[in-house]
């Protein structure tokens, strides 16, 4: 349990009403930029053990910080910089008011700047700490890079965010460390494994944002300030580990050495390079030329017993991962213009596939639609006019499902105009007793290498079964009718004599008796539980029961849905007949 060593709390949330002189002086100093400092330095409030004691008898909800944390904030050199900046703003305003334009110019030139490098170093003393915490930074950076360049924040911030996120994506492609992708209704989730750390981030779908009014963008901007710094340093280091040039340069040998024609139409000269980078279609330049087949084989250590098993398991996982990394290798994909280009290009390139798009869609396309070697054409519309015979026309979900399934799924279910199979979350790991959707079971079977049964057969079989059921029902009905007749006859005859039937020996079910005995023992033992333990036990059991209930509910829902679907199909068939 975490214990708070020094119990000097004070809260620093307006309205500030501190009676202690000592704390007032501190609070006055920090109050103005308190929020910003707390965000940058990673200071979070604490829940005091005795809330009432600290809060002077009141139970009103208040935020408490440790006094030592606040003292720690005061030692931060950046406090001085903030103060300087505040003074600068005041002076500038005055100069504007007096229309001293030269003064304004001079002040602007000498605008005080501050750096967050030391804060990053202090918060993340080791590189791996920083990588572990990069989740939120990525999500925020990707979000900011989608903002329009007017209004909510500085253009420089947006540009920086865009640059950093493109750098990150390029790194993920180069290291092939993407693991899972999920198309949710909120956006697209990506999960990568970087230096052994699982990192998840979300990118919103490409739409203009409807900026909410109840969001404080200053808070977000402060976070972004911190996150861009963090992400920049992390990117730098990551590029170093792969011997890539930072800031990223396109590989000179690639197709990009030749200037494409429409380039000038697409972007300004100054921006075209960054645009090409963000097209994600070319590999990056390396400081040390990459040697093929560099994969160093692991040294084999003689191991015994459990270690051996562990080793084997690890090797197996590694093998699987290596295979997954080469998932799309050898495939040549073409993106139609209505599919999310960036996401698909990113995912396909992460798994070694070749990808291109229409020249007019974006800069950096590598081959045309007419290329005969294209294997898959990704389309997100019901039909397409001109179709080439030697390629599959598939919907974008196929790519994502393949990545999550770690195998190339059969393309039949993803053809144009076909109702797609459900898209499952790759992040759900079902433990025992959880509900597993049938699609997941199917996928697991595929992964194991079992061949899926042809659906038509299944259906036919099912139908046959159902017919059998009908027959059974009929026979049952007949039985019942017979019984009713017999009874009627009996009633009419009224010759019912009291009969004594020989008693039957109840077979003693030993298993059952044993079980019952055990159950009773348990019930009695539960009676003797201590109050605290009983409470805990009840809580756990309640949770378990709820879990089971939810799983059952889902299963029942699915069954009802399938049944209704089947009935519909039958009806249709009958109509056809």
């Amino acid at each position: 349990m975490f214990s708070i060593s020094s119990l000097f709390f004070f809260f620093c949330e307006p309205p500030v009403e501190i009676t202690d002189v000592y704390t007032v002086s501190i609070c006055e100093l920090i109050h103005a930029s308190h929020r910003r400092l707390c965000i940058l330095k990673g200071i979070y409030p604490h829940e005091p053990k005795h809330k009432k004691k600290v809060n002077k008898g009141s139970t009103a909800p208040r935020t408490f910080y440790l006094l030592k944390d606040i003292r720690f904030l005061l030692h931060e050199p950046i406090v001085g910089k903030f103060r300087e900046y505040k003074i600068f703003v005041r002076k500038l305003r005055k100069a504007y008011g007096k229309a001293e334009w030269s003064g304004v110019q001079r002040m602007k030139e000498n605008k005080p700047a501050y750096k967050l490098d030391h804060i990053i170093k202090e918060r993340y003393p080791t590189f791996i700490d920083a990588v572990r915490d990069v989740d939120d930074a990525l999500s925020m950076s990707f979000l900011f890079s989608t903002f329009a360049r007017t209004g909510k924040c500085h253009v420089q911030t947006i540009q920086l965010c865009r640059r950093l996120s493109v750098e990150w994506m390029n790194y993920i492609i180069a290291s092939r460390s993407l693991r899972k992708v999920f198309l949710s209704i909120k956006g697209i989730y990506y999960q990568a494994e970087v230096l052994g750390q699982t990192i998840t981030w979300i990118i919103p779908y490409q739409f203009a944002h409807d900026h909410p009014t109840d969001v404080d963008y200053r808070v977000m901007a402060t976070f972004t300030e911190l996150y861009t710094t963090l992400l920049g340093f992390v990117n730098f280091r990551l590029y170093q580990t792969l011997n890539l040039v930072y800031p990223p340069k396109l590989d000179g040998q690639g197709e990009f050495s030749l200037k494409s024609e429409c380039e000038e139409d697409y972007a300004l000269e100054s921006e075209s390079y960054s645009e090409k980078l963000s097209a994600l279609s070319a590999s990056l330049a390396r400081t040390v030329p990459l040697v093929e087949d560099e994969e160093a084989e692991l040294d084999l250590f003689p191991a015994e017993g459990e270690d051996l098993e562990k080793m084997e398991a690890r090797e197996k996982i590694e093998l699987e991962q290596n295979e997954q990394k080469k998932l799309f290798e050898g495939l040549k994909l073409f993106l139609n213009r209505e599919v999310p280009r960036e996401s698909l290009a990113f995912v396909i390139r992460c798994f070694g596939g070749q990808v291109s798009w229409d020249k007019s869609l974006c800069i950096g396309s590598t081959y045309d639609e007419t290329d005969e070697t294209i294997t898959h054409h990704i389309v997100d519309r019901p039909t397409i006019d001109k179709q080439y015979i030697n390629r599959y026309y598939i919907q974008p979900q196929w790519v994502y499902d393949c990545v999550n399934g770690k195998i190339l799924l059969p393309v039949e279910e993803y053809f144009l105009g076909v109702t797609l199979p459900p898209h499952l979350s790759p992040f759900v790991e079902e433990s025992e007793g959880d509900y597993v959707p049938p699609e997941k079971l199917k996928l697991q079977a595929l992964q194991r290498g079992e061949k899926p049964q042809a659906e038509d057969d299944e259906e036919e079989e099912e139908e046959e079964e159902e017919d059998d059921d009908d027959e059974d029902d009929q026979s049952e009905d007949e039985d019942e009718a017979n019984l009713a007749e017999m009874e009627e006859k009996r009633a009419q005859g009224k010759s019912l004599s009291v009969k004594v039937t020989p008693g039957k020996v109840k077979p003693e079910n030993r298993m059952r008796a044993e079980q019952e005995e055990k159950a009773e023992e348990k019930r009695l033992a539960i009676m003797m539980m201590k109050k605290k333990e009983k409470y805990l036990y009840d809580k756990i059991m309640f949770g378990k029961k709820r879990h089971v209930r939810e799983a059952n509910k889902l299963a029942a829902k699915r069954k009802a849905h399938d049944d209704s679907n089947k009935a519909d199909k039958k009806k249709k068939k009958k109509k056809k007949c």
Binding site: M1, F2, I43, Y44, P45, H46, E47, N110, D117, I120, K121, P125, T126, F127, A130, D136, L143, F182, L183, S184, I185, G187, Y189, P204, H209, D210, P212, V215, D216, V219, G232, F233, F236, R237, Q240, E338, V339, P340, D380, P396, Q397, P422, H423, L424, S425, F427, V428, P437, E517, E520, E521, L524, A525, M527, M528, M529, L536, L554, K557, R558
Partner: protein, 664 residues
């Protein structure tokens, strides 16, 4: 001179100069052609009738006969104007110059404009210059050009200040110089040479990690999305209509899902998520405003929480099955008691009868009617006396049922009849009377009239003393102890604290237990003092039983608890059992076997193994061994009384359904 030229370069001024008297008005009137006409008239006048009123609104002279003054100061009278509308009209029709005739406001005279003047007016109306010959696009001549002229433009002598150094400037410069010297002013901020990003972790020094970093709690990562968040989830994750309505009505804070699961046919159809920025913002708020705390997740197997107890099988014998039901009472059976031999059972019921049963056959041998609902029955524990105490209303009757050994019965009768009145009669709180007549035939021997309703009767182990409880709040007389052989009654307590629920004698030592609502007080009868006060930790004690060893007490309470006290251990319960669902009505110990039972309103009798060891260091072992069910719940009442057989491991229970059950 040059200045003059500039002044007269304006053609309009040139024109005005011809009428020198009007130069004064020049600037006011340039723009208004209308008022210009006035000046035109001046310039044309042959005779010099000049109005000297100046540039004033002429309507000031509207009401006067004159219109101003001439140069000699004489009034200029308005010309007689007697033209009416008709004349005006005729004039307009006939006079060809009517259109070019204007009235001079200053003199009131009509003036006919000449051709040049008309032309001028036309030109001004068109926005042209008055002078026909004026070229408005003449090339500009720069005064201050690069050509050096021989004459200066102005011939003004230079100011003195132009050749004396400025003090103010000196001061300013001095300040700047000082600031530069002190390094306050720098021409340019030195440019940053370090790149924006570099290898920050080049020198990872584990020693530089702050102590506070070890205390730091990293923020938990965001929850990963489940199947229901998919753009194309399996159908079972979509909400039905009712679920959706319920979701919408729920407070957003308490919703399990923060969004409505939706299904889209294709990726193209997925819209933007409107709360994306909100969610990011909320995450930011969580990161810097949420108190963080390490919480140990309880990761226990619930099976481990269940205490390991010896198996009930190993603790036999104990009653397991319902073997006999004693039927006969028509109302709830409040109390039962068993004869010391274990052969007979007596039960008292609300139907105003006391029934005697043979235990082994469940036959009702005798029914004695009494004058009220029976609250308590108690068989004398002394095997040499056959006497049963029955309490109803405010009366306690001692019955001799006449069952069993006839010698014993007659001996009992003799014992009662051999009583001799003492010489000095003491005033007693209770009236003793000998039953006679019909009552005597039924078995009534002694009738004790109490001042209040008696709830419980209990015998001392020797069988001579009988304690009665008359619960009454705030009255001193709540417990009385009768001595049957001497027909004497004592009131042991001058004052009772609280409402007495039940009393009991210690089986061996001269102690007396009194249970009030919350406490059990133990009195030493010889020393006549309070020895112990047991805190039951419950709201309302209903019943109490003393272990035959005398060192342990169990208390049942109306708030579903059974408290086991170990008198040697503490005044607080050694163990509290909450195994009943409803109020406990009765508890009982077995005389020989380590068993105790409790009956409750939920209709169950729970038999527990309660082993008391002779070793003082070992705590009693309590194991519930059996839940016995046999009574139906009537009027929310289940089991009212339980009692053990004196020799066998059997338990009797009486219920609100009017039956008594035997479990063996």
């Amino acid at each position: 001179s040059q200045t003059k030229k500039s002044l007269f370069s304006d053609p309009r001024s040139v024109w005005f100069i011809s009428s020198p008297s009007c130069v004064m008005f020049l600037w006011h009137t340039v723009k208004w052609a209308d008022s210009l006409l006035i000046f035109i008239t001046f310039s044309v006048r042959s005779q010099d009738i000049r109005n000297t009123v100046g540039n004033i609104p002429m309507e000031w002279y509207k009401d006067y006969p004159h219109i101003g003054y001439d140069l000699e100061g004489k009034k200029i009278f308005k010309p007689i104007r007697n033209k009416d509308e008709l004349d005006e009209f005729l004039d307009k029709m006939e006079n060809p110059d009517y259109w070019r005739t204007v009235q001079d406001k200053m003199t009131g005279a009509d003036i006919r404009l000449s051709d040049e003047q008309v032309d001028l007016v036309h030109r001004l109306q068109q926005g042209k210059f008055g002078d026909v010959n004026f070229n408005e696009y003449e090339p500009a001549i720069d005064f201050f050009s690069n050509e050096v002229m021989i004459h200066p433009v102005t011939n003004r002598p230079q100011d003195k200040r132009s050749f004396i150094p400025s003090l103010i400037e000196k001061e300013k410069v001095g300040k700047l110089v000082h600031a530069i010297k002190m390094g306050w002013i720098k021409p340019h901020r030195p440019k940053e040479t370090t790149p924006q990003y570099y290898d920050l972790w080049a020198k990872e020094d584990p020693n530089s990690i702050l102590g506070r970093h070890k205390m730091h709690i990293p923020a938990p990562k965001m929850k990963l999305p489940g199947h229901e968040e998919s753009y194309n989830p399996p159908p079972e994750y979509l909400m039905s209509e009712e679920e959706r309505l319920a979701w919408e009505q729920q407070d957003p804070e308490y919703r399990k899902l923060s969004f409505l699961p939706q299904k889209f046919a294709c990726l193209r159809a997925v819209p933007a998520y409107s709360r994306f920025i909100h969610e990011r913002f909320e995450r930011c708020l969580d990161l810097y405003l949420c108190p963080r705390q390490r919480k140990m997740r309880v990761n226990v197997n619930p099976e481990d929480l269940i205490p390991k107890l010896p198996k009930p099988k190993d603790l036999q014998p104990f009653p397991t099955t319902q073997s006999l039901v004693y039927r006969g009472h028509s109302s709830l059976v409040r109390s039962i008691s068993i004869s010391p031999s274990g052969q007979w059972l007596v039960s008292g019921s609300d139907d105003c009868t006391v029934r005697f049963w043979e235990v082994s056959t469940a036959r009702c041998l005798k029914t004695v009617e009494v004058g009220g609902a029976v609250k308590g029955v108690a068989w004398n524990p002394n095997p040499s006396i056959c006497l049963v105490a029955v309490s109803y209303d405010d009366t306690v009757v001692l019955l001799n049922p006449g069952l069993g050994d006839r010698l014993v019965c007659t001996a009992t009768d003799q014992l009662i009849s051999s009583y001799e009145e003492p010489e000095e009669v003491k005033d007693q709180p209770v009236q003793w009377a000998v039953a006679e007549g019909e009552g005597h035939e039924q078995g009534h021997r002694l009738i004790l009239k109490h001042p209040k309703a008696v709830r419980q009767v209990t015998w001392h182990g020797k069988g001579d003393y009988l304690a009665c409880v008359m619960p009454d709040n705030g009255n001193s007389l709540q417990v009385v102890i009768h001595q049957v052989s001497k027909r004497r009654t004592q009131n042991p307590f001058r004052k009772n604290k609280g409402l007495v629920q039940c009393v009991s004698f210690h089986p061996i030592r001269p102690y007396f237990f009194v249970a009030t609502q919350r406490y059990v007080r133990v009195y030493n009868l010889i020393k006549q003092e309070l020895t112990k006060k047991l805190m039951a930790n419950c709201k309302w004690i209903s019943s109490m039983a003393i272990h035959p060893g005398g060192d342990n007490v169990i208390c049942g309470s109306y708030d579903c608890r059974l408290a086991w006290f170990d008198l040697d251990l503490s005044t607080k319960p050694y163990k509290v059992l909450r195994h009943h669902k409803k109020a406990l009505r009765s508890v009982a110990y077995h005389r020989h076997y380590p068993l105790f039972a409790s009956g409750s309103d939920d209709g169950n009798v729970i038999v527990c193994h309660g082993m008391v060891y002779n070793d003082l260091l070992q705590n009693p072992l309590i194991v519930p061994v059996k839940v016995l069910k046999g009574h139906t719940i009537t009027h929310d009442l289940g089991v009212l009384d339980v009692t053990f057989h004196p020799t066998q491991p059997w338990v009797f229970s009486s219920g609100a359904d009017g039956t008594v059950c035997l479990f063996t």
